[in-house]
Subunit: 450 residues, 2 copies
């Protein structure tokens, strides 16, 4: 397969030499997901032309849908309001609601006003649901059946829909209030005797979600029960829409990225291909916060300046205790936040998990503490320094394990995101505590140290 | 919904009071995925009884399949070899191959010998494919059609299969050599005129993978093209099996966990619910390696003992430079490794990404360096100390950004896992370099510092 840069070069050559027809043909042969990387390599003018060509092929909407959303502002910059509206109007409502967020705020109203009235209404209705909720992520096109309909009638009704809804996998059986009664996998419909009513072949009480449910919850259900789509219901059990597995895969991927990013204090909009100034702007607040916590650690060290003055070797071994405690804390934090995200905490309990991390911290602290003490003794010849290192390592590792578990579990209990903030809280605490433990113990042993 | 602990208690009460029938009914009403968390709360004896009950309901295999594999050893410990073989024999080949790995090595041969011969043959054939390959992850049950078959004939053939294969979503059209010609989504089959040959309604040249392909590649394709299943072919294009989207979701989740875990130096078997001794054993080697790198940093500080002796305040500010550089490195590392995993690097290039991280590092270094210099000046009243802090902050942040990008990109270029090892290399390097930069610059300015 040609690399995106190579295809971009070919495309650019075709465009600049005016061979639009061949450019169009090249584009038409590429799957929507493959066009994205090429756009990243084009100028604004070229982007505009390519979107025009795609629009003629009725493929501009799927191409934009497949782009990492962080690339959208660059694309929208190249397009007129009307063209953006034309493209967005062709999207399913869940995609429309996602993409409209990326239109620069000052142009959003204008773009919205150019959408067909029906789409605008749909959008307004969808936006009534909370952000990241099932109601926003669902598509409203699905096949609803009457329970008295026969299997053959259901098949005929699908046939009459034509080729439009190729993604239909389940059919939903509803009563006259549109309340969900059951679900018929299309495979089961095909295998059923033609005259059997769908009410008899449906799966009753299928897994469903409320429109207000968070998309993480939706993803967890789909993953847990291996579903291909999940129906979305209102308070009264009426069927509103469907969330399909491809959207769920996106959610799962996004949530994993978010967790990793949050542990490192990163914002979602800060990607490999984001311009440097965006990354700087997004990272600075966190780095300044972090600077504050570093100075907190420095202040703790400062409390012991007189001790260090007398035993400079302490400055040498300080990074060992802090480094190890920091790593221990990060390990506990990673296991627990990932465990929470994957629902693994169900297989244990918060208290059990925190105690376990404490014990793991103590055990590793003892082993690495002994190793450190021996190295320090061999290097500086002071058994008391070795003792201070051993003791502080055990205490610091124990506390960092406990904190690495307790902070995300506590945030979760407070209904906060366990990944958000955990990183900085745990690192600060372990750093501060490690310095305090090591230098404090050294100060207590100072008479025998000097 | 009752919590797992509550249900476990109820189940335990039913079991100990011998009301097996009610326990059986309780279990039969629970979806397979919900039984797992309950097993975690039972004794070995109780596990054995529950698995027996599930086995009678023909549900033991799906329950084991839904467990986090790290829990399996505990379950297998409670079961006799024959029972393990009975349960495993009911799994699809891809699940069988995964679960057999978790049977304790000393019992594995015995368990294998008790499998039906046909399953053993299948297993041996599947194990010829490399680990984590498509060949191991595929199921070999799929519906193959002759291109001359009509839509109605295809539907009839599905009907004759009965209710077994509810997951069938695509039908595969193959020639007389079993080479894949095209794919027919079941939805399209239903919508097609009954007498049309499937060869005319199929999608030609569908996305497929070779059996040797890595499962990450499979997941990337499914995510990229929004597929529900992907056909697996041999070298000659013959159809071997299918990988379905629920397996792909597992792969995506696993890979994300693996990346997070690797950045923190954790092994996949170290979970929330793993016993403490397992976690200690798995984490110790990495923590000892880490101890080595901490002592490397300590050794660098040791080189400047005489400088610190003269200006003890340097020991106070050391953690600031190292802490900030460490964080900057982690941020760059997270953006790049996640970008590689998601294929976002396609939207940029390695060189561009590394240069960008360098620039981001310099910019953030300048801002936080100025802030640090001002704080240090206000605190210790030494402008030269502030200058040393500023200069080393800029250099250390620049280098950590560059390294955070270059290390995973370099590992990827060497066809190594970019997440594995990056964490420890980058942290070590940034720590060592930060101390060296700060104390080195301070030593150069020493005359004006004291």
């Amino acid at each position: 397969m040609a690399t995106p840069e190579f295809t971009a070069r070919t495309l650019r050559r075709l465009l600049t030499s005016g061979v639009t027809l061949r450019a169009e043909r090249l584009l038409s042969k590429m799957p929507a997901a493959d066009v994205g990387p090429i756009l990243a390599d084009l100028t604004q003018d070229e982007i505009r032309t390519v979107i025009e060509l795609l629009f003629r092929q009725r493929r501009a909407a799927p191409v934009l849908r497949e782009l990492p959303p962080e690339m959208l502002p660059q694309i929208f910059d190249a397009l007129a309001d009307q063209r953006i509206a034309d493209v967005l109007a062709r999207l399913e409502i869940d995609d429309l609601i996602e993409l409209i967020e990326w239109v620069p705020e000052e142009r959003r109203e204008e773009v919205l006003s150019r959408l067909p009235v029906s789409r605008r209404d749909e959008l307004m209705k969808a936006e009534l649901y909370p952000e990241d909720s099932a109601g926003r992520a669902m598509t409203t096109s699905f096949v609803a059946l009457d329970p008295k309909m026969t299997a053959q009638e259901a098949i005929d009704s699908i046939r009459s829909l034509g080729d439009e809804n190729e993604a239909v996998l389940y059919l939903y059986v509803v009563d006259d209030q549109r309340c969900l009664l059951g679900v018929v996998p299309i495979r089961r419909l095909v295998a059923a005797p033609p005259h059997r009513p769908v009410g008899e072949i449906m799966i009753r009480d299928p897994v469903s979600v409320r429109a207000e449910a968070d998309q993480e919850e939706v993803a967890a259900l789909v993953r847990r029960y291996d579903l291909l789509a999940i129906p979305v219901l209102d308070v009264d059990g009426r069927m509103l829409g469907v969330i399909t597995v491809d959207d769920v895969i996106e959610v799962i991927t996004e949530e994993a990225t978010e967790d990793m990013y949050r542990l490192a204090g990163l914002s979602g909009e800060d990607r490999v291909f984001s311009p440097a100034h965006t990354s700087v702007r997004k990272r600075l607040p966190w780095m300044l916060l972090n600077l504050g916590t570093c100075f907190l650690a420095a202040w703790v060290v400062g409390l012991f300046e007189r001790t260090i003055q007398q035993v400079v070797a302490l400055a040498v071994f300080m990074p060992v205790v802090a480094g190890m405690a920091g790593n221990g804390g990060t390990q506990a934090l990673t296991v627990i936040t990932r465990g929470i995200a994957l629902g693994e905490i169900e297989f244990s309990t918060g208290l059990r998990a925190a105690l376990k991390e404490l014990m793991v911290g103590v055990s590793i602290g003892v082993v690495t503490g002994i190793a450190s003490a021996l190295i320090a003794y061999a290097w500086h010849g002071s058994p008391v320094l070795g003792l201070a290192l051993f003791l502080s390592m055990v205490v610091a590792m124990a506390v960092s394990g406990l904190m690495g578990a307790a902070v995300p579990l506590g945030l979760k209990a407070l209904k906060q995101d366990p990944a958000l903030g955990s990183g900085v809280i745990v690192t600060t605490f372990t750093d501060v505590f490690a310095f305090f433990a090591f230098l404090g113990i050294a100060t207590l042993l100072l008479d025998r140290l000097v």
